[in-house]
């Protein structure tokens, strides 16, 4: 009887250490949803490019500038990007809140705040850097830069949440670097990084942590 209580003690210690230092309630399902939104967004963007005159430039490979052929076209892309990001964040927030409740973890406790702050630092730097890239006219570099900075921010934030996030971050960085070499296919790499990878890793996370047990 004595040893049973000791085993319970150890289990409790472990759970408290984990719960208090890491935000374990991230929902994998929200990753799957975010990936789906991104793919839909990329598909709409693709249709848009196809229907515009700038598509010629796109297939001829002078694509670093294809987005910039008209300002309205460019605005459509930015709006699409914002819409995808907003939808993803809203879905992620809702689903994660649900999971947090289940895990008895407060949505905005210390571990969640630490994770968010650490995510936000490279992400904010990346956002500023991409705005500068746009301003300086390096439009083709925007897609690779968003992927790289997003990956870095995931790696940074992963110290305070599930390990899967770290892997996803590294994959995003690699995709971003490849996109920077293979310039002009930004949309493809975006769809791969923000769409496919979110779905793949979201499914992995769901499988590992959330599946009805």
């Amino acid at each position: 009887m004595e040893d049973k209580s000791h085993i319970e003690h150890l289990a409790e210690i472990r759970s408290l250490m984990e719960r208090s230092s890491r935000f374990i309630s991230l929902s994998g399902l929200s990753g799957i949803m975010a990936g789906t939104y991104a793919l839909v967004g990329a598909y709409i963007a693709r249709l848009y490019i196809k229907n515009s005159e700038s598509y010629i430039e796109f297939i001829e490979g002078y694509s670093t500038r294809y987005v910039a052929t008209s300002w309205t076209e460019f605005k459509v892309f930015i709006l699409l990007g914002i819409a995808v990001a907003a939808l993803s964040i809203a879905t992620g927030f809702l689903l994660t809140m649900k999971r947090a409740k289940k895990n008895n973890q407060n949505m905005l406790d210390k571990s969640a705040l630490r994770m968010l702050i650490n995510l936000a630092i490279p992400l904010a730097a990346g956002g500023a850097f991409c705005t500068i890239l746009l301003y300086q006219g390096y439009i083709g570099m925007v897609a690779p830069a968003t992927l790289i900075f997003y990956g870095l921010s995931l790696v940074n934030g992963s110290k305070y949440t599930l390990d899967t996030i770290r892997h996803l971050g590294i994959v995003e960085i690699i995709i971003g670097l490849i996109a920077a070499i293979d310039l002009g296919n930004g949309l493809f790499y975006w769809a791969l990084g923000f769409g496919v990878m979110h779905i793949v890793y979201g499914t992995a996370m769901w499988w590992k942590y959330e599946r009805a047990k």
Binding site: D3, H6, I7, H9, L10, E12, I13, L16, M17, R19, S20, S21, N104, N106, D109, K110
Partner: protein, 96 residues
């Protein structure tokens, strides 16, 4: 060897407080309370006990107008807790 089992950590709440503080630098009262799911009075009496043993230290500050009390594990507390874990481990190993 059994002597290393520390009586101070036999209570669930004290064990919990120490576990949380081992992996967090300065944790405030309310966060501890939420994590451990205990009442104010219960938590504060166990915290006082741990403080008397010099296992944790206390910092009081004001956030706006509200007082906020935070806790951190001391060197002594860290060592005592690690010894306690070691003793538990030995005990369990001895049984298998």
């Amino acid at each position: 060897m059994i002597n290393n089992i520390n009586k101070a950590f036999e209570s669930r709440v004290r064990l919990g407080v120490m576990s949380v503080l081992m992996v967090n630098d300065w944790m405030d009262f309310n966060s501890l309370k939420d994590l451990l799911d205990v009442t104010d009075g219960n938590l504060s009496s166990h915290i006082t006990a741990l403080e008397k043993l010099d296992y944790i230290e206390i910092r009081k500050e004001f956030v706006g107008k509200r007082p906020k009390t935070s806790y951190r594990v001391t060197q002594d507390g860290r060592k005592a807790f690690q010894d306690h874990l070691g003793a538990l481990e030995n005990l369990l190993n001895g049984l298998t």
